[in-house]
Symmetry: C2
DNA sequence: TTAATTCGGTTTCAAAATGCAACTCTATTC
DNA sequence: GAATAGAGTTGCATTTTGAAACCGAATTAA
């Protein structure tokens, strides 16, 4: 059987993971956020096999996370660039990064992100209530109404 | 060759993805956040094969994202519960959920999360500067200092 | 008090997915 | 004019995944 996909589920997390939840996609998006645009650069920086990279890039383009642009006069040179949808994964990536820094420390010092405006460190990403209180998983519930709570 | 892992990289995102970046782990964590604790329930709610579930649960326990608790008198009934590290993935999950709701809409209405305190919807998760401005991927840079920027 | 069922797995086996190396086909550079 | 680089394919071996069968302990049903 083929790998399970989660295209039409009611659960938005599952739908999101369906598009970027495989082993490589988010890493590719991350590299793109660092400015990588060329096939070879993705390949070298990530150490990913070319056929897999090819497949992932196509999938990301298909899902409108990346856009493939033809640079160079008559074909054969391309750039993969983030779309708005792709750029909007920034929050997810930063949340993951902060989680990694907090819970999987290494010998390396945490490479913190800084505000380009003034060089100051950014805040920790948090889930906030309407009134600005920081919320924990136990402080929220899902509006499930009459439908039964399958997934999501 | 076996699947590439990213255990000791300088990049915290890669380290995070190494622990929860496979096809199932974040889904399991999500279910756990919805209150699922038993093997069979994970299995049925996710539609995951038992051997894979078994493997993923062990990995998550090994990485201290879940804790395996022995309930029932002398073994043979267990519960998998989120640790603090696991609960702290809440931000990541909510960010993903909001991204999914925004960019991959379906016939289902977005199932919004609400504040248990007062039933009000929560805010969109955002990356904020020290002074509270919302930041985009282009508004930040990484403190890379003298080391070369490999990965991260 | 057996018998059936549930829980939490392990085993087996076929079908993907992955990684690697070699190869291709344009351009561009030496 | 030959060599190299970019962006992929193709073929093949290894891993991972998924489905279904099986298993042993404990719990429930008859």
């Amino acid at each position: 059987m083929s790998r399970k996909r989660f295209l039409d589920t009611e659960c938005p997390v599952a739908r999101a993971l369906d598009q970027v939840g495989d082993w490589w996609s988010l890493r590719i998006v991350l590299q793109a956020m660092y400015g990588t645009r060329r096939f070879v650069d993705f390949q070298q920086q990530l150490g990913i096999a070319k056929n897999i990279l090819c497949d992932r890039l196509s999938r990301l383009v298909e899902h409108d996370v990346l856009r493939k642009e033809d640079v160079g006069e008559h074909g054969s040179r391309y750039e993969y660039r983030l779309t708005e949808k792709g750029r909007d994964l920034f929050t997810v990536v930063v949340a993951l990064r902060q989680w990694g820094d907090k819970w999987i420390p290494t010998e390396f010092p945490p490479l913190d992100l800084r505000d380009r405006e003034n060089g100051a460190p950014i805040q920790a990403v948090r889930v906030l209530a309407g009134d600005g209180r920081a919320l924990d998983v136990r402080d929220v519930f899902t509006q499930v109404d009459e439908r039964q709570n399958t997934g999501s």
